[in-house]
């Protein structure tokens, strides 16, 4: 049924596509509902997916990833390669050619200067750029001529596609952001809310944490696109309400991240107004184990920092037992249905990088008990194991979300069976994932023993993602709590591998290294306990054509191609 609908939709879009794309703005209005409302349009100041999705309709990178995970040029004429000379023989530089005649939405030309400026903007040490990782290892970005940019690396780079590739690192307009460099970056309210871009849409009105109105960018390079004259992105509510607005009432055309119980979604789809699409990228629902001490008795600014190791989660046996006690198949079945697969990996794809680590897929409560017993953790009278006066008692936090609360209940029960006491805590999603590090309840602050959320990497190269787990990327006051190494995992061996990976050219060897690093974090150290390899699930109206959900880039990467399917 679902496949048929899909095929019909695809067929209809093929037939109608030429007609629909004949004229810009011919299809009127399209609406997107995001239950987490975007709070800024400048993704260089925010690590939130919600903000990146909103901004990706305005700001564009040089190249994007396709739903298959391959590269496709966007503002560039072609993808640089060794063959076309874009990548230098010694792998230390990459040269991008910009398409000719691309204009910003204010009518001025896009030039190589804008690209250079963007690099300077993000690489400014005082700017607190959230996407700095994309610019790591770059020694210089220069404009060779108005349409050519040369990025030079400090060391040979086998995979030079991080800066200006994918929705997280697009090009900003130099003229607009010139006064917002460095320390001034967060104070530029007007610029951060209404960036000028080259994308298919431009911002008409930005209401922070509420609604964004876009209209077609008249300067967009393809005169026939976008098919929609206006686009509304509404925020607020919850996932169920968002899914309902698309699948049941048909008020919205697209609902982002409708993470709900499979049976609830199936019930909504039965209305025949839309469907839930899933695309598998690299999203993994996982539990991060806090290797540092989150105890509230520590002074603020030292809690959950590397200064204080965790009293008992630093014991490998405990972490391993926690992982062994979990039945991932059941979690997937209950929580995600067809939009999930059980996994033991942090890097589940692409195939060359995915480790064959499957031993965790079978739940082993007895084994976990034996392991704890062996490690000296003895069950007390209340069933909770203790050792040297320490109780295996955990605070387990995650965002408010029906599926996650079910996971919490299930996992708590399994953990109680092996003698681990669990206290559950839930935090509102917009706070937990919020980019505001002022809140004590963000996932980076990690004032708990274990926390559960989902994360992925952009593009087909997990290297930057793996490189985020190095010792110096542990969140803390010194990096404004923006680090991505939430577990505070620190192994010099791992850091060495990161360096080695950065130097390795051969694809197969890179994959092997990646697998090793994945295994180090998962089955060797259990600092991260992967649970489910998740598809990105979004609800799409049956009247909306051209949607190609993309899990490798921002999911609405091809919003320019969206059009209305006429009945």
């Amino acid at each position: 049924m679902k496949l048929r609908t899909l095929l019909m939709g695809a067929a209809a879009s093929l037939v109608l596509a030429p007609a629909a794309m004949a004229e810009r703005g011919a299809d009127g209005a399209v609406s997107i509902i995001m239950w987490q409302a975007p709070s800024t349009m400048n993704m260089y100041l925010s690590s939130g997916t919600k903000d990146i999705i909103a901004a990706s309709m305005v700001l564009e990178p040089l190249a994007s990833f396709t739903p298959e995970g391959t590269l496709t040029p966007r503002l560039a004429t072609e993808i640089p390669s060794l063959e076309n000379g874009g990548i230098a023989e010694d792998l230390t530089s990459v040269t991008w050619k910009l398409k000719e005649g691309i204009k910003w939405s204010d009518g001025t030309d896009l030039t190589a200067d804008d690209v250079v400026f963007t690099a300077n903007y993000c690489m400014d040490p005082k700017g607190g750029c959230a996407q700095l990782a994309k610019f790591e290892g770059i020694s210089a970005v220069e404009a060779v001529d108005p349409l050519t940019v040369k990025i030079t690396f400090t060391e040979p780079r086998p995979d030079p596609f991080s800066a200006f590739v994918g929705g997280q690192a697009p090009i900003l307009q130099k003229a607009q952001f010139e006064s917002c460099l460095g320390e001034a970056a967060p104070t530029c309210t007007e610029q951060n809310f209404n960036p000028i871009g080259t994308g298919p849409f431009k911002v008409v009105e930005f209401r922070t944490n509420d609604v964004i109105t876009f209209e077609a960018n008249q300067e967009y390079r393809d005169p026939a696109k976008p098919a929609f004259a206006t686009l509304t992105m509404k925020g607020g509510g919850d996932a169920a309400a968002a899914a309902r607005a698309v699948l049941e009432t048909g008020e919205f055309d697209y609902a982002w991240n409708t993470q709900l119980a499979p049976e609830v979604l199936a019930g909504m789809e039965a209305n025949g107004k839309g469907r839930v699409e899933a695309a598998f990228g690299s999203l993994v629902e996982r539990i991060h184990v806090n290797l540092t001490d989150p105890s509230p008795s520590l002074p603020e600014g030292e809690r959950s920092t590397t200064k204080h190791p965790h009293p008992f989660l630093t014991d490998l046996a405990v972490r391993k037992a926690l992982s062994m006690a979990i039945d991932r198949n059941l979690l997937t079945e209950i929580g995600y249905g067809p939009a999930g697969q059980p996994t033991c990996n942090l890097v589940p794809a692409p195939a060359a990088w995915a480790s064959d680590n499957t031993e965790c897929l079978t739940q082993d409560i007895e084994g976990a008990k034996a392991l704890l017993e062996e490690a000296g953790w003895v069950a007390g009278p209340d069933g909770v194991r203790t050792k040297d006066g320490m109780r295996l008692s955990l605070l387990y936090q995650t965002s408010v979300n029906a599926v996650r609360q079910d996971f919490q209940a299930l996992i708590k029960q399994w953990w109680s069976e092996i003698g681990v006491e669990t206290e559950l805590k839930t935090i509102d999603a917009s706070v937990f994932f919020g980019s505001d590090a002022g809140s004590p309840d963000t996932l980076q602050k990690f004032y708990a023993d274990v926390e559960m959320y989902a994360n992925n990497f952009e593009g087909n190269n997990p290297e930057p993602y793996l490189a985020k787990q190095t010792c110096d990327k542990a969140p803390g006051p010194e990096n404004q709590w923006q680090g991505e190494n939430t577990s505070r995992y620190c192994d010099p061996e791992y850091d060495k591998l990161v360096v080695e990976l950065g130097k390795t050219v051969d694809l197969a060897a890179r994959g092997e290294l990646g697998k090793r690093m994945n295994d180090m974090q998962t089955k060797d150290s259990h600092s991260v306990i992967p649970l489910v390899y998740r598809g990105t699930a979004s609800a799409v109206s049956n009247t909306l054509g051209g949607v190609m959900l993309n899990a490798w880039d921002t999911e609405i990467w091809n919003v320019a191609d969206w059009h209305r399917i006429k009945e």
Binding site: T189, N209, D210, G235, A241, E248, S435, G438
Partner: protein
């Protein structure tokens, strides 16, 4: 009465300042202290501006004084400037939200219209329904009307709005498709069609909240009417041969309004404060949603400002209620 009003208005100023001080100290005492937490995200320069805006890093009384100055001096000057095109507020730091890095009052101004229309309308509807229901229920105590009224209002009050809201959405938004389930905050009423669209999107949130408010007010109305119906003056009035209508609507109702006036006066400031859950269910991103996101983000200037505006309204409405007591019952004197 005029004397009393003037005295109370004068007294309101120190009261309000004291209230703002308590709110400030409450926020100050909370673990989400902006100096300890928020500035870690932002670069030192902005931190400095935030320090200026909040006066952080100085003794608490200096910081508090600065906020007072911004609220009572810089902001009014800014409005004056934008009205008359003058430049008195140039170079002065307005109250800046930590969250969106935009002036607090700009965001509040953005949110007030939808809050006032939806929550205000629901309150109006609630009061208009509740008073007649309360009167009839009391006059015909234990009649079928009273029994049903009691039943419905108790159900209405005991059902949380996140539940009634979703039930309404499923029935009227999904099954019948009469009303939209998502409130469009950008809709501007220009003509008849957009007015109809506005009415349609308001029906469900207003119903949910009105039911809740009506349930509460009608209970107080009924109880108060019942108290008064048994009084001697009612017997006297009837004995005098006054019509039943005059007795109930003029004598009893007037004497029964005191608790109702109290409840309504207490409820009106909440109209401004917004209804968090209803706003969330129907995606009406008003003041309620603003306040809660600000609280989560430890956006102290935003929380302090919104809460203080709220306090002004409360003090105002309690004063109005006190004046109304005197109007309703001339025996009540404050002098």
């Amino acid at each position: 009465m005029l004397n009393f009003t003037i005295r109370r208005l004068l007294l309101a100023i120190p009261t309000l300042i004291f209230i703002s001080l308590v709110i400030f100290l409450l926020l100050e005492a909370s673990p989400g202290d902006p100096l300890g937490d928020v500035p870690l995200t932002v670069p030192p320069e902005v931190k400095e501006r935030m320090r200026e805006a909040l006066g952080l890093g100085q003794a608490w009384y200096v910081r508090y004084g600065l906020w007072l100055k911004q609220f009572f001096w810089v902001e009014p000057l800014y409005w004056f400037d934008s009205l008359f095109g003058t430049g008195f507020s140039d170079g002065m730091q307005r109250i800046i939200s930590f969250q969106s890095r935009s002036p607090v009052f700009d965001v509040i101004a953005q949110r007030v219209p939808q809050t006032l229309t939806v929550i205000g309308m629901s309150y109006l509807v609630g009061v208009l329904i509740a008073i007649p229901i309360g009167i009839i229920s009391a006059y015909r105590q234990y009649s079928w009307f009273d029994q049903i009224g009691t039943f419905v209002s108790m159900i209405g009050f005991s059902m949380p709005t996140f539940f009634t809201g979703v039930v309404l959405i499923i029935i009227f938004g999904v099954k019948l498709q009469w009303f939209p389930s998502v409130y469009d905050t950008t809709l501007v009423v220009r003509d008849w069609d957009s007015f109809l669209a506005q009415v349609r999107q308001m029906v469900m949130p207003v119903t949910v909240l009105a039911l809740y408010n009506a349930a509460q007010i009608s209970r107080f109305m009924r109880a108060s009417m019942l108290d008064n119906l048994g009084q001697d003056y009612v017997r006297t009035a009837r004995a005098k041969g006054l019509s039943e209508r005059t007795v109930v609507l003029k004598h009893v109702l007037r004497n029964s309004l005191i608790p109702v006036v109290t409840v309504i006066a207490l409820g009106l400031p909440a109209v401004f404060g917004g209804a968090l859950i209803t706003e969330q269910v129907f995606k009406v991103n008003g003041i309620g949603q603003l306040l809660i996101t600000a609280i989560y983000a430890n956006d102290i200037p935003m929380v302090l400002t919104v809460t203080f505006l709220f306090a002004i309204l409360i003090v105002m409405f309690t004063l109005i209620a006190d004046i109304l007591y005197g109007v309703l019952d001339p025996r009540i004197r404050y002098d």
